[in-house]
């Protein structure tokens, strides 16, 4: 056995030898020169040195590697700083919103000369600082990447691309001149014009081109109401109701709190009549409707009645008041009309609760002069005649304001005019059509076949911001300014003339539409100031002069621009004329109801579809159904049962004049045998976001709808078999499923009472106070501590707060599939609950946002302290620390936290919202959150710090009243209060202390800081519905 054999393959592993053994070796005597090898030096462990050297080098160079950090970009200051513009400080411009025809006064917030938010103008007498969800979101249209940047030539496929404005002007004016010479018609198609100056521009144009005729149309018009008013009262100025003074309101298929008329004003005034903090006298709202509208959802009494039976019901009412209660003098017309319709009979025929009707009649009589009837603009003229007549018969005209609504400067043309235009276009009588920001190819009823007619017209021009359905067929598409780049004025009230001023120079090679017409009319070559001058000229001559004010025009003009309006009481026309006694003369006997009635309602957010490409609006949940990104045929469960339909099934709706196939949504509270669909969806050329969203119901729209009602008889419904995915932000729970029924009440999420109950016992909510205790002592906050209160008596669930929050806080749009997966990002949402039965549901809604709990469950569980409490009591979110464990969201009892599952801006429609210039819409004071980060309501912390800066400059501490959150600012009902809960005098403290105040899920002891004021239903019984 060769123990001596040295073993080679250990070399590579030489390590220090065992010292013990070395000592031992040294101890032995051996041949000299042998032992010398036994000191540590000889076993020099070079490999280790090398290793260390390698390590050192690597780390040194690694350090050397991380030099040159990312260039943060250069600084570009103002070369000529405009007066009053300080970088980082916002400016505000008063202007007017043109999102719909209501012309709300707006206050546009700009940063460094770029608009970033649109709010209501507090000085505007009509909308008083609030605007609707659409107005809020409309700022996105300014920065919509789909906007046209240059004039285009050639229709549809024949498009030859950009051309210069000069070419466009030259060729078009030449052609117009030829038309005049050849005596061919020039048609200008436009929405109703409420701008006196635009009217003047059109006159100038018509004067220049003698064969011009102007056509206006509006599928959502209120012409029936206006004509009826003329029939009853003789003049043409529609009244404005002062809802706050009404004790009893009867709404007949009228969504005056939602989509019918000037809802922003109506909500404010109506809510003012329902303020338990001001008075214990609350108004009482009766709603008689077939659809379940926002107004119906807020009713104290709601009666289901199909829209085509409204006239019957009104006749019954008239009969009751005239013959039973003898409250109205008998007229021959009344006798002729009502004999067949005693209220009893009508109520039985249409299954209307009799006792409620009796309450209604009694209330109307007891509150003469303090009650008001209002009918929806979808209904036919006769219904409105009845309503106007009854109002004046009951002396309710006292509730009308002296400020009234004049007709449009260019009123909607009658269906006959529009039809004849189409005829002339087909027959070649029309030489040119100019679409003035109008989209008739999509809007007009399919039966008119406007599109085909348009192809017969040699020269067709579309003046529009984007290429829409009409533009696609036009031989010229000329891009016009967005409303934020435009000048203008609008007259919606006899007392008020609103001004519109641009807040940013045109982003692209676009022009002001009025200026284009003026230039063509040959007044002067186009320049940005052309229409500006024209506007000032008209004001000098027609506004300033008649007013006869002391100040010179320049001062007057600048002041009006500053305020955003001029008040013109001179234009109003005396007292409201009494109703003609024979007003009912031409009311025809109601037609019998048929198997089905179809009602084409107004989309709550898209309006006529003009805003289809606005993702923020597409993603606002419908106030009742909570469905997003779609329209649908809403039917009652009974109707659905008859056809074995369930939500998502496709049906075909067939009318004499057309048809449409759409998905069904079963909706509680809709009258049986009624199908309601809203317009404005199904655009096919709206842009990457808006095209092919929902279904177009052009086919169902009849030409009569252009000036008449949008309720149809003779409808047949068939199930086609297909299915379609409707997406809603709230899981639907069967109303009658005992497993989940009325949880919102048993869990005290929604706490309601009746006015009676409240009068009897103001503290009825707090009969059984919760005993909450904590093992640790509470953290004390000295100084300001922020809190919010929401008055559920005022909130009508209009979604203005949601839309405002989206804009203020850079909330991304996620798209339909993502909402379907439950990933919507809105920081504040309106929860909707039903109790009662599917036939007669009792809806309740509740704005739900981060409650900023004192003992926030989300904070304990965050491993990286990305969410903690600030010294002023905010539950704050540290985005750049968040790693996205989502534990906080799981542990939030209110589920108000939102997670960026994707980079949603990149994810929607091939990164549509990552295209420029969308980045300009983002609030520079708010982080644009990345993928994988949790976010939630911050109580608008950026506004709080802004207020703190101002306070610091003024050398004082910040006050609770200094801050207004975006949702609070937007709320038309002024239902949201925000402020300092440590200040006992503050309004929010008053709300917190109020008898009706309660906290949602108080028993979790999270100590939320959002107080809800329980809603009081003003009904006759004491027990809640």
């Amino acid at each position: 056995m060769s123990t001596e054999s040295p073993n080679r393959h250990w070399r590579s592993l030489q390590e220090a030898a065992d010292p013990a053994s070395l000592k031992g070796v040294a101890a032995q005597e051996f041949a000299p020169g042998v032992t010398d090898d036994f000191d540590l030096a000889t076993l020099s462990p070079i490999s280790r040195k090398r290793f260390l050297a390698m390590l050192a080098a690597s780390s040194a160079f690694a350090a050397a590697g991380c030099t040159n950090y990312r260039d943060k970009g250069e600084i570009v200051p103002y070369t000529r700083q405009p007066e009053g513009h300080i970088p980082g400080v916002a400016n505000a411009y008063a202007s007017t919103c043109t999102g719909c025809h209501q012309a709300c006064g707006t206050l546009i917030k700009t940063r460094e000369g770029r608009p970033i938010k649109i709010d209501g103008n507090p000085d505007h007498p009509v909308n008083r600082g609030a605007i609707c969800p659409r107005g809020q979101a409309s700022i996105l249209n300014l920065y919509d990447p789909y906007r046209l940047r240059n004039p285009q030539r050639g229709a549809g496929t024949g498009r030859t691309g950009d051309l210069s404005w000069e070419q466009a002007d030259r060729t078009i004016t030449e052609h117009l001149a030829q038309c005049v010479a050849a005596g061919r018609k020039i048609a200008v198609v436009t929405p109703p014009v409420y701008s006196p100056t635009l009217k003047k521009v059109l006159n100038t144009f018509s004067a220049a081109f003698s064969t011009t005729s102007v056509y206006a149309y509006d599928t959502l018009h209120e012409e029936s109401r206006r004509r009826a008013w003329r029939r009853v009262h003789g003049d043409h100025l529609l009244p404005v109701v002062e809802w706050e003074r009404a004790r009893v309101v009867l709404a007949l298929e009228s969504d005056f709190l939602g989509t019918d008329g000037m809802s922003v004003e109506a909500i404010r005034r109506f809510a003012a009549g329902r303020d338990p903090l001001r008075s214990e006298e609350l108004n009482r709202l009766y709603v008689v409707e077939g659809d379940l509208s926002t107004t119906g959802a807020n009713a104290d009494y709601r009666l289901r009645l199909r829209p085509d039976a409204q006239l019957h019901f009104l006749l019954g009412l008239l009969h009751e008041l005239t013959y039973v209660r003898r409250a109205i003098p008998v007229t021959p017309e009344a006798r002729r009309l009502t004999t067949e319709y005693p209220l009893q009979k009508v109520a039985e025929d249409y299954g209307v609760r009799k006792e409620t009707v009796d309450h209604l009649v009694t209330d109307l009589l007891d509150n003469r002069g303090r009650a008001i009837l209002v009918a929806g603009s979808v209904l036919e003229e006769d219904v409105h005649v009845m309503v106007h007549y009854l109002n004046s018969a009951l002396g309710n005209t006292r509730l009308y304001s002296r400020d009234r609504m004049p007709p449009a400067a260019v009123a909607p043309s009658s269906e006959l005019d529009v039809a004849s235009l189409v005829r002339d276009m087909k027959s070649g009588k029309v030489g040119a059509v100019i679409h003035l920001d109008a989209n008739p190819v999509f809007d007009l009823p399919a039966e008119l076949a406007y599109g085909e007619a348009l192809e017969q017209v040699p020269v067709s021009v579309s003046l529009a911001e984007t290429e829409d359905e009409t533009g696609a067929l036009c031989s010229y598409v000329l891009p016009i300014h967005n409303q934020l780049e435009s000048w203008g004025d609008h007259q919606r009230r006899t007392h008020t003339l609103s001004l519109q001023q641009p807040v940013i120079a045109p982003l692209y090679n676009t022009r002001q539409k009025e200026g284009i017409l003026l230039a063509w009319a040959g007044t002067a070559p186009y320049s940005e100031s052309l229409y500006h001058e024209f506007l000032m000229e008209r004001w000098r001559a027609e506004v300033h002069a008649p007013l006869g004010v002391a100040s010179d025009f320049k001062t007057f003009w600048l002041a009006s621009l500053h305020d955003g309006l001029a008040s013109t009481p001179g234009l109003s026309e005396g007292p409201i004329p009494e109703a003609r006694r024979d007003a009912l003369g031409r009311v025809s006997m109601p037609a019998p109801v048929e198997a089905y009635a179809l009602m084409l309602t107004t989309s709550p957010f898209l309006g006529d579809g003009r805003f289809a490409n606005n993702g923020w609006l597409q993603e606002l949940p419908h106030p009742i159904s909570k469905i997003v990104w779609d329209n649908y045929a809403a039917v009652s469960s009974a109707t659905a049962a008859r056809h074995e339909l369930s939500t998502g099934d496709m049906i075909e709706v067939l009318l004499p004049h057309g048809r449409a196939t759409l998905p069904v949504a079963i909706q509680p509270g809709i009258a049986d045998s009624v199908v309601t669909v809203f317009l404005g969806y199904g655009r096919w050329n709206a842009g990457p976001v808006g095209s092919h969203v929902g279904t177009s119901v052009q086919g169902l729209l009849s030409r009569s709808a252009l000036s008449g009602s949008r309720v149809y008889r003779g409808v047949s419904v068939t199930k086609t078999g297909g299915t379609y995915r409707l997406v809603s932000t709230q899981e639907h729970h069967a109303l009658d499923d005992p497993f989940v029924k009325d949880f919102h009440r048993s869990r005290n999420i929604i706490q309601e009472g009746t006015l009676e109950e409240y009068r009897q016992n103001p503290r009825f909510l707090h009969e059984k106070p919760l005993e909450l205790f904590s093992i640790s002592k509470e953290v004390s906050y000295d100084g300001v501590k922020w809190a919010m209160a929401i008055d559920m008596n005022k909130c009508v669930g209009c979604n203005a707060c949601v839309s405002a929050c989206n804009v203020e806080n850079n909330v991304p749009v996620v798209g339909k599939e993502q909402v379907a997966m439950g990933r919507e990002m809105q920081w504040i949402r309106i929860d909707r609950y039903f109790s009662g039965t599917p036939e007669d549901p009792v809806p309740s809604h509740q704005p739900m946002l981060c409650q900023h709990c004192d003992t926030a469950p989300c904070e304990n569980v965050c491993p990286v302290v990305a969410t903690t409490h600030s010294p002023d009591g905010l539950n704050q979110m540290v985005y750049n620390r968040c790693v996205g464990t989502k534990y906080c969201s799981n542990n939030c009892p209110y589920k108000v936290r939102r997670f960026n599952f994707y980079n949603f801006r990149d994810h929607l429609a091939d990164g549509y919202y990552e295209q420029e210039p969308v980045s300009l819409v983002h609030n520079p004071e708010v982080t644009v959150r990345s993928r994988g980060v949790m976010e939630k309501c911050t109580f608008c912390v950026q506004r709080i710090s802004e207020a703190r800066q101002v306070a610091a400059q003024e050398g004082r501490a910040v006050r609770g009243s200094d801050v207004t959150t975006a949702c609070q600012q937007a709320c038309p009902a002024q239902a949201i209060v925000f402020g300092d809960m440590n200040d006992p005098a503050s309004e929010v403290s008053r709300y917190r202390a109020h008898n009706l105040g309660y906290h949602v899920l108080a028993e979790t002891n999270a100590r939320p800081n959002v107080t809800y004021l329980a809603r009081l239903r003003n009904i006759h019984t004491e027990k809640a519905l």
Partner: protein, 380 residues
């Protein structure tokens, strides 16, 4: 017999656990201390046979454990009370029950891992892969199924002949001498040898390159997002979206922002003097503001006391003194007008100085003039 390599130990093998136990007892009885027993698995009773102390590893475990426990508590306390106290879920800063789990885990971690490290490094002197016993037939056998005993040459009683006979008595088979393996001298000792330096340089380049790329580029590609660059436009940032590249825009001609009506007397100094009146009262706070703004904006040319002695040391034409009769008899409005619109070489200060501050400056100028031409009454 001489041998080139020094002796490490004499080894003997045994076939049964009983045999090795007896052998160990024998060797120990003979007074040997530097000997070892190698068996494929722990043979029970051997530590007594070899007269070894029982292990003190437990003491180390205890110490490490305590260090872990106390250290963790101390650290957490420092973090939550001293370094960065935060209100989390309305709980007290030092909510000790929540600290128990972490403390426990760290205790266990330190105690167990460090004791093992101690054993390996301190007691075993591992790693050591070049022990003389390694790779000997002796080791091969004991690691399989034999039981061996090795008496080290370094033992004071060691004498090759006597020890060998002792092992024979004890019944050892295959008694063998194990020697050091001394063939280490051939190893290359130079550090600066070109091939190695080459490798060194290569590593350096690779590492620095890699770190550069990852820190400055890789970390900014999809999907990474640090929110350091966000799709929004901050003040004074350029923007390619506008033809002139300026992110900050000029207001549109003829528009009026809230609270900034254009100056009514533009280009009309006389009327300004006639109609404009100071909107502020000369309170001490207003004068303080006025002084601040004057010293900021006016004094560079007009001098700290308005004598027109520029602080610019004549690098710029000196402006007239503010104590001239003209200036003193001027109405406030005219001074305001000049500040707003400038005159001669003096530029307009409208965009730098807000309206109220201009009026405050006017007050302060009045104070300077008054101080310069003080009345008797002022001196009292």
């Amino acid at each position: 017999m001489k041998h080139p390599f020094p002796l490490y130990a004499l080894t003997g093998l045994f076939g049964t656990p009983d045999g090795i136990t007896r052998a160990a007892e024998g060797v120990a009885a003979a007074g040997y201390t530097r000997f070892d027993v190698n068996t494929p698995y722990p043979v029970h009773g051997m530590e007594h046979a070899m007269r070894l102390h029982s292990s003190r590893l437990g003491v180390f475990a205890l110490v490490f454990g305590l260090v872990g426990a106390v250290g963790t508590i101390a650290f957490i306390t420092w973090v939550t009370l001293v370094d960065y106290p935060m209100v989390i879920g309305g709980k007290p800063f030092w909510s000790w029950p929540a600290f128990v789990p972490v403390t426990f885990e760290v205790t266990v971690l330190l105690a167990s891992v460090l004791s093992v490290v101690t054993m390996i490094v301190l007691y075993f002197r591992f790693p050591n892969t070049s022990h003389p016993l390694h790779d000997t037939p002796y080791m091969k056998k004991v690691s399989l199924d034999h039981f061996g005993i090795a008496i080290l040459a370094s033992d004071p009683l060691f004498d090759e002949r006597a020890t060998r006979s002792l092992l024979e008595q004890l019944g050892a088979k295959e008694i063998a001498a194990v020697r050091y393996d001394l063939d280490d001298r051939a190893i290359d000792r130079r550090l600066f040898e070109p091939r190695f330096l080459g490798i060194l340089a290569l590593t350096a380049i690779l590492v620095s390159g890699a770190t550069y790329v990852s820190f400055n580029h890789l970390l900014y590609w999809e999907p990474f997002n640090w929110m350091s660059e966000q799709p929004k436009l901050k003040p004074q940032k350029p923007s390619p979206l506008f033809p002139d590249g300026f992110g900050m825009r000029q207001p549109v001609q003829g528009t009026v922002a809230r609270g900034s009506l254009p100056y009514a007397f533009a280009g009309r100094p006389e009327e300004a003097g006639k109609y404009l009146v100071n909107t502020l009262l000369p309170t001490s706070s207003v004068l303080a503001v006025g002084k601040k703004k004057y010293l900021t904006f006016c004094s560079p040319c007009h001098g700290n006391f308005g004598e027109g002695n520029s602080r610019l040391r004549g690098q710029f034409p000196n402006p007239p003194t503010l104590h001239s009769d003209k200036a003193r008899t001027w109405p406030d409005g005219s001074i305001y007008h000049v500040i707003s619109e400038g005159q001669n070489v003096m530029p307009a200060y409208a965009s730098q100085i807000p309206v109220n501050d201009r009026w405050a400056i006017v007050h302060y100028v009045r104070v300077l003039q008054r101080a310069h031409y003080a009345k008797e009454s002022d001196l009292k």
